[in-house]
Symmetry: D3
Subunit: 70 residues, 6 copies
């Protein structure tokens, strides 16, 4: 059980934009490892760290003017 004071912190908020296709296992490990990377280096409490994964499709993502799907 974790206690946050009224007006407590729900930061840092980490958003990971990546191509779709990773497995559930990879996403689970990603959230765990990113959370500990953040707590270890910023001093934030584990309960304060939120991680959001945004999956992108290759048809909606481009580098150097080219979509990955093309």
């Amino acid at each position: 059980m974790y206690v946050i004071k009224r007006g407590g912190r729900a930061m840092p908020i980490v958003t990971v934009q990546m191509l779709e296709g990773r497995t559930d296992k990879q996403k689970q490990a990603l959230i765990e490892e990113v959370t500990s990377a953040v707590t270890k280096t910023t001093g934030a409490k584990e309960t304060a760290v939120t991680v959001v994964i945004e999956e992108m499709s290759k048809s909606n993502y481009g580098v150097a003017g080219k979509r990955l799907i093309d």
Copy 2:
């Protein structure tokens, strides 16, 4: 030196929103550790991982209806 193919990948893109006030050393370590957390769990190449830090002020951030500054 790292080589990316034309239309290579500049993903995953990781955005860390956190309260202002961390030291340069902490930010350096944060980018390093988050990058390895992502490469380790998603298989992405290190050169493909971009990390952006967005620093928030306590007057612009609230939880449970209260700003942290108040």
Copy 3:
């Protein structure tokens, strides 16, 4: 009918990230209530307020290192 001058404002832009699963009725009410909360407190015109809802799945969202789905 609303008139905006060339170069008029389409701000504030409000993005609501929330777990998927709310009904259409809830989303309709959310956009309406958030818009009036913003106009009431910032003085922005109703026509200037844009609200974007981003729905998250429990498998892509984690707090304290744990995904909500796990």
Copy 4:
């Protein structure tokens, strides 16, 4: 005092992008009113709602191809 279970929710996350220049009082009221608009319409707990204000300058913001500052 508010208690969140390990892996509890820090969602919805509301980001308000608006032009810089509002007073502290306005920002305080904005966070309060947006939080209650969200809890009232989505059923989310007040402690779960995070509001982030991102202030924009007129030189970095444009509509219909024109910056507000020009």
Copy 5:
């Protein structure tokens, strides 16, 4: 083949939020044209420009308190 130095730049990052429904051809052209608009005006290298398209549904998007779908 493009070479980026270790710690090279993967910026600017352009995110285009737009209503769903555009064709693949339109998305291809959008990424190409936005990339050249950015390189032409900021001096950034083409290989440094990332474009991400986020498609919105009319049920999750509202202006002036009204969802587009309603």
Copy 6:
């Protein structure tokens, strides 16, 4: 003068994250060119296109685990 119907569209919304340091002239041209790139390829009306520039500092931005500033 441009007219938008109640509940009209203020999309697409384009966010350009780039390193700080461009001149006002460059930002003006960037907003103009990105707006026409979007209208030309998506069919959106010019008045519907919003462009937001988010300027990053080299100390808050990293690729391949290294901050640009280091």
